[in-house]
């Protein structure tokens, strides 16, 4: 019995302290990694608000596509109403442009083309051609109490859904 316990607890003082030391070092290393990660992740961002005021709806004539370069969104006034598309290409983040002569949205960086109207059975925002992996997302749009169009760039809404349009 005595011999058995001696065999299972056969850890010398040196080994014990080595294990204790390595153990505390690993815990400290994990803690340091966690602190470093938290430190590198900013808690406060001085970035523009995701909600953009796009002004009064009558600024946008029927069947018009308007790019707001600063906020990176399109305000589109179609038969169904006003809706908003992101102007940031889903490929690598370039700012796309509205090509009125072709009736499409095109990205200058790598040539992705996106539909705006229902032509060719594509919903607005869907890709016609190019490397973009996803359609341009629709953004939540609504009217505030002053009658201004507001767009929330941080919220995607389903394409062609009833609530994705503003009707005035």
């Amino acid at each position: 019995m005595a011999e058995e316990t001696k065999r299972t607890d056969d850890v010398s003082r040196r080994q014990f302290f080595t294990k204790l030391g390595l153990g505390s070092l690993s815990i400290a290393a994990v803690g340091t990694a966690a602190f470093a990660y938290q430190y590198l992740e900013p808690n406060v961002l001085f970035e523009p608000s995701p909600v953009v005021n796009a002004g009064k709806p009558d600024r946008y004539p029927l069947d018009s596509v308007t790019l707001d370069v600063n906020s990176g969104i399109y305000i589109i006034h179609s038969e169904e109403g006003y809706f908003s598309l992101s102007a940031v290409c889903t490929h690598l983040g370039c700012l796309t442009a509205w090509k009125p002569e072709l009736g499409i949205i095109a990205c200058p960086c790598h040539g992705s083309k996106f539909s705006v109207s229902d032509q060719a059975k594509l919903k607005p925002g869907e890709k016609i051609e190019g490397p973009a992996p996803k359609p341009l997302p629709w953004k939540r749009i609504w009217l505030n109490d002053d009658g201004d169009l507001l767009v929330d760039r941080s919220t995607d809404v389903p394409a062609m859904a009833r609530d994705s349009f503003v009707r005035v």
Binding site: L40, L45, F46
Partner: protein, 269 residues
């Protein structure tokens, strides 16, 4: 009789101050010359003795040395540029323009930094191709090839982080596109993108982060790996070994196949 220039140098080498710094002393014996290399903190990374053939232009085209040369130019021009450049969104672009049009010799330093950066990327690739076609990546140099690949990535990252610093439209969109590539990493891509830029878009935080990466973290990392790279050349037996020359490798392969085809089993015995 007047002393010759060599004799003047010899008496300089005998002085106490000189001997306190360089311990090897005068004389051109093989031992003294070996000690001069071995006891110098910078030169001790290299072999104490090198065959003249290894230093011939055809062996390496000096591409690695030239790459080091451009790196040293980049350090020497980059530090003075830092004295006039503020990595802040309102000032960065104006500072770049000031360096071009207001600061004395600023245009020269900035252009030298830029062209050396381009040259370094070119030379790193040329060096890699030369090593590849010479077969100098073969054992025992596999590990140094890996270090070389790390250095290639560091060079590209240095180039990429430096690209944002002028803070113009070209820089902005290049980094927007480049950092979105990081988002393509599965699962943690978005997180990497956020940490790299210090935000969701290329902003003041991104400029500062790229500045710190460009001026501190990446150069120090590069120096660390360059030191290992040079030290490994010595440890792996010089710039290249006779055995890894294409003609020798072909001859070995030919003799091996010559012995193997008629009596492959005999060799096993």
């Amino acid at each position: 009789m007047a002393k010759t220039i060599d004799q003047h140098f010899d008496s300089l080498r005998e002085t106490r101050v000189w001997r306190s710094i360089f311990r090897s002393g005068t004389g051109s014996s093989t031992l003294k010359r070996a000690l001069a290399i071995q006891q110098n903190v910078f030169l001790h990374l290299f072999s104490t003795k090198v065959r003249t053939r290894m230093l011939s232009v055809s062996a390496t085209w000096y591409l690695g040395t030239l790459t080091l040369g451009t790196f040293l130019i980049l350090v020497a021009t980059g530090i003075p540029l830092m004295l006039y450049y503020h990595p802040s969104a309102p000032q960065a672009y104006a500072d770049t323009k000031d360096l071009q049009f207001v600061v004395s010799s600023g245009l020269f330093l900035r252009n030298l930094h830029r062209w050396s950066a381009h040259a370094m990327v070119f030379l790193v690739f040329a060096h890699m191709f030369k090593v590849f076609y010479r077969g100098a990546y073969r054992p025992p140099r596999e590990f140094n090839w890996v270090i070389g690949v790390v250095l290639l990535l560091l060079t590209l990252l240095l180039s990429y982080t430096g690209y944002l610093l002028p803070w113009d439209q070209l820089a902005y969109w290049a980094i927007t596109v480049g950092s979105n590539i990081a988002s393509a990493v599965p699962v943690i891509g978005g997180k990497i993108h956020f940490l790299l830029l210090g935000g969701n878009a290329v902003n003041a935080n991104a400029l500062l982060r790229f500045y710190v990466l460009h001026c501190m973290i990446l150069p120090l990392t590069a120096i660390f790996f360059v030191a290992i790279h040079f030290w490994r050349i010595r440890k792996d037996g010089g710039l290249y070994s006779h055995g890894s020359e294409p003609a020798v490798v072909r001859a070995q392969a030919a003799s091996r196949s010559a012995t193997e085809i008629p009596g492959g089993e005999k060799e096993a015995q």
